[in-house]
Every structure is written in structure tokens, then in C-alpha cells.
């Protein structure tokens, strides 16, 4: 990969120092989290935060997190994975087939509908959260997984991205050729178009996945039952309990720290591996 450079650009010391400095800034809280996931709650208070204590107990902490309250943490993680996967799969499929229609077909009100979708990208999701909560209450969906999944399958940005992606990457000739070979529309969509557009699909999937994984306000409003909550809500509950311990309750500090570390590992790994797709998809979305 050749950089957009002027002739032979020499590495700059100043720029390198700056990049290392920013890397340290990015790593600082993560490093803190890893170090402190090895400490007992008293050591969290008694020892210097940027270094290990004399009696590391990472394994014990992990066991505590996984077994506390009958293993509720694993249940929260499972909820998060299930809500995020279902939302992302739904959002990707809906945006894909609609994006294909917008990219390759003519129909009435096409432009008006597309502009409506573009306008919807601008609606702030959190301003929608309270009205969505009201809608879900009237549909009697509060405290069900659907309260998270159904609102999350609408991805106006995904539709926009996939329309552009299919438009620019899937030639009409390939679709025509598949038709001449006798493939039905479902077959064309499912194998020919989906295969060529797979980087775009991966991008939309990933963005929706992260969107649901990150969402805090909506689950806070619609999932009050602890066993249904995603891990983000669970961790903040533990955090609140450790800050305001009621009499007789345990202090949960080390659970919050170790639980936070465990909760980010799957997503960070997924991202490092899927960054390639995200980049190619974002390029299309960004450059137009």
C-alpha cells in the first residue's frame, strides 16, 4: 500500500512521538482496567492504580463475576449477544432487499421514499427513545426482548449505504446474465447480489450490531427486569450498588472492574478481525 506521499516521505520523529503519545492515551484506561481486574476490592483502594498489587487474583475475580447472583453476568452477556445479533441480522436483511430495489428497479414514489429515509437518518435516536417507549408500552412489549430488537431493525443509514454499494458494485449485466440462466429473483438476490455486496452487508451488520450493543437509554426505559437486561445495564447496576451499598450488601467494586473487562473482550476481538470489511464499506458510504 503506497501512501499518498510526496516523493519519498521520510518518517518524521515529531509525528512518530505524537502517534506514540496518542496511543498511550488510548491505552491508558484499558491498561488500568486490566491491572485492576487482578485486584481484590481492598487492594483497589490501597494500592497504586497503574501497577499490580502483591497478591494478584484475576482468576478469583473472574470466578466471582461469573458466579455472582447465580451467574447473572453470563445471562446478561447472552442477552446482549442475542439482542445485538438479532437486531443486526434483521437490519441487514431489511436494508439489503430494500437497497437492492432502490439500486436496480424503477418504481413509483422511489425518490420521495428515499428522501424520507435520508431525512430519518437525521432524527436523533435518543429523542425517539421516550416516544418509542410509549409505543412499546401500548403494544405491551415492555420487558420482552422484542422491545429492544424490533425498533433496532430499522436502519435508514444501512439502506442508504447498501443502495449506494449495490449501485456501484453490482453491474446490471451480471443480474441480466443470471436471469437468462433461469435464476429467479430470490436466487439472484440471495446468491449473486449478496455475494458481491458482502463487504457492504458486513458493514451494515457491524454498525447495527454495535448500535444495539451500545444502546443504553432504550433498554433502561424498556427492560426493568434484571434477568432480561443487557450487560451494560447490569454493570451500571453493580456500579450503583457498590457506590451506595445498602446495609448488608456486598461491596461489588472488583466485580464491576473485572466484569467490564470481560464484557469488552468479545467485541474488541470481533472488531479487530472485521475492521477490513468496515473500512471498505465506510469508504463507499463516505465518498459517495
Amino acid at each position: 500500500m503506497r501512501p499518498n506521499t510526496l516523493g519519498g516521505a521520510r518518517p518524521s520523529v515529531l509525528a512518530t512521538v505524537m502517534f506514540i503519545g496518542f496511543a498511550l492515551y488510548v491505552l491508558m484506561p484499558i491498561y488500568w482496567l486490566i491491572v485492576n481486574a487482578t485486584k481484590s476490592t481492598p487492594d483497589l483502594f490501597a494500592t497504586f492504580g497503574f501497577w499490580f498489587s502483591d497478591t494478584p487474583q484475576l482468576i478469583d475475580n473472574i470466578r466471582d463475576v461469573l458466579t455472582h447472583d447465580d451467574g447473572i453476568f453470563l445471562r446478561w452477556m447472552g442477552n446482549t449477544v442475542w439482542y445485538s445479533t438479532a437486531s443486526a441480522a434483521g437490519a441487514t436483511v431489511l436494508a439489503f432487499i430494500a437497497g437492492y430495489a432502490f439500486a436496480k428497479w424503477q418504481f413509483r414514489f422511489k425518490d420521495a421514499l428515499f428522501w424520507t429515509v435520508l431525512a430519518a437518518i437525521m432524527i436523533p435516536g435518543a429523542a425517539l427513545a421516550v416516544p418509542t417507549f410509549q409505543l412499546l408500552s401500548s403494544l405491551d412489549l415492555i420487558n420482552t426482548p422484542w422491545a429492544i430488537i424490533l425498533p433496532s431493525v430499522v436502519s435508514p443509514f444501512g439502506l442508504y449505504l447498501l443502495r449506494i454499494y449495490i449501485d456501484s458494485s453490482v453491474p446490471d449485466e451480471i443480474i441480466d446474465a443470471a436471469r437468462i440462466d433461469g435464476a429467479g429473483e430470490g436466487r439472484i438476490l440471495g446468491s449473486v447480489v449478496a455475494r458481491i455486496a458482502s463487504p457492504g452487508l458486513a458493514t451494515v451488520f457491524l454498525l447495527s450490531f454495535v448500535g444495539t450493543w451500545n444502546n443504553y437509554l432504550l433498554p433502561l426505559l424498556v427492560l426493568t427486569e434484571t434477568r432480561l437486561q443487557p450487560v451494560t445495564l447490569g454493570l451500571t447496576n453493580w456500579n450503583r450498588q457498590s457506590l451506595f451499598p445498602t446495609t448488608g450488601s456486598e461491596v461489588l467494586y472488583s466485580l464491576v472492574v473485572t466484569g467490564s473487562l470481560l464484557s469488552i473482550i468479545p467485541l474488541v476481538i470481533a472488531f479487530v478481525f472485521m475492521q477490513r470489511y468496515l473500512r471498505s464499506g465506510l469508504t463507499i458510504g463516505a465518498v459517495r
Binding site: 496518542f22 483502594f45 436523533p124 418509542t132 410509549q134 443504553y216 451494560t232 467485541l267
Partner: protein, 314 residues
Amino acid sequence: MTTSATVDTSPRPSARDAGPDRRRKRRAGWWLPYVLIAPFFTAFLVFTVGPLLLALYNSFFRTRLIGGTSFVWFQNYADVFTDEKFWEGFLRILGYGAIFTPLTIALSLFLALVVDAGVVRRSGFYRMLYFVPYAIPAVVATLMWGFLYGPTISPLTDIASAIGLRGFNLLDSSVVLFSIGNIGIWTFTGYNILVFYAALRSIPHEVYEAAVLDGANRWRIGWSIKIPLIKPVLTMVAIFSIIGTVQLFTEPMVLQPLAPRSLPANYTPNMYAYSLTATGQQLNYVSALSFVLGAIVVVLSVIYLRITNRREAD
């Protein structure tokens, strides 16, 4: 069910209206695109348009303990406009956005330009590393930074008191806005670098070869050639930042138990809306409030687009 509803809106086969489009001759029927878009638009109608309409409807009513629900016209909106608690949070957000949106974008654009200029070795490694925070949910990011900010177990506080800084508290009401902004910079810089870098890579070499031959230096090329060429991307990122800023919720909400006095329940408009919803008494009022907030976002985005377009015309 929805399919037929969509088709009903076009009594005649639509392909006939599409003009001389060769796709018309294709084997599948004219109704096919409607079937393809039906699932998306059904969900869109129910879960995007639906809440909006419901909120609009609710915002015109008021429920009183005595007298039940009654139609009050724009009374809720009038109350929002005179609600000091709402505007206090809104002004705070405006100040926050005015500081941190340009700062985050300038920082990531600068770093992306440096990567693009090829003066840092192994820049791919840095880009990947900087991107890691984006994979960390805002809740967890805030918990981590909250531990670093909080006065009790933070190593930063230990360091500050070791060098003689007394009363060092990053959650104090005078600085907590910056502490929140720091979490935003930490989370989004890497993502923005990725987007800007992708856009910079798509500029063909020929565009600035002439400038290179004329002896223009890197900064000049970056400032006068590259940045103007990726302006649509800058605009997109800026608008997403504005939308994100107005919605600020998770970070102050998660920090709140650490510093209840610095972060009152109306610290941001969304926290205010949430606190009113959580107490459950004022859903009609919150509907009006959500509408005002959403409208402000749209207006801000349009103003931003106007300003950038006018600058281009000059």
C-alpha cells in the same frame, strides 16, 4: 398485508410510468420492488414514524390527577419553551458541542492527514489501535474513565496529591463537562480517522501531482487540496457529531452516581427527559420535549449545511 397496502397506492403498473427503462422488460412483475421494500418500510412506519406520530398526538394532551386527560393545544410546548431546567441543559450541550465537535474533528483530521502523508511508520498498527475504543460500549468506557476520574481509587488523584495538587477532582462541577468531552474524544477519534483516511485515500494522485511539482509543501497540499476534496465527508461527520452531541446521555448518566452534585438530573436535555419519564407522571410533557429536541437537531444540521454551502459559494 403490508404488501397489498403498498401496492394499493399505485393503481396502475408502475413500470409504465418509469419511462423508457429497459428494466421494464424484465421477466419479474412490476410489483416486485414493492415487495422488496415492504418489510423495511413496514418496520420504518411502525418504529420510526409510529413513535413520532404517537408523541405528536400525546404532546397535545395533559393528564391531571383530578379531571383526567384533556386536550390542551400547544400548552405543553409553551411550557417547554419556558422550562428553565430544559434550557439550562440545552445551553450546556450547546457549549459542549461548540468546544468538542470542532476539537474532535480537527484532531482526527490532522492525524488522518499525517497518516496519509506517509511520515509515520507502521501507521496501520496505530490506526487499528486508535480504533479499539470504538468497540468499547460507552457505558464501559464511562465506567473505566469514571474510575480514573473519581477521587477515591484513581491513580491520577494519587499522582496529583504526590506532586502537591490538593483538592484535585475531575468530577467537580467546574470541570466535569471536559471530563465527559474527553470520553467522547477517546471514543470517536479513531473512528473518525478511519473515515477521513478512507476518503483521503480515494483522492487520485494526479490531482496534486502538479502541486508537488510546483514545490508546494505537505501542509499546503493538505490544507488547500486534500481538505477541500473531502469536504462532503467532513460535512457528514460534522452532522453526525451534532446529532450525537444533542443526544448526550450515557456518559453523564453513568457518571452521575459518582458525582450527583456535579451532575443534576437535568444535566443534559436527554437526562431530563429520562428523569421525567422514569418518574412516570409527565409522559405528555416529555413527548413535547422530545419533539422540540428533535426539531432543534434538524434545525442545527440545516444551519450547518447552509453555512458550509455559503462558504463554498464565496
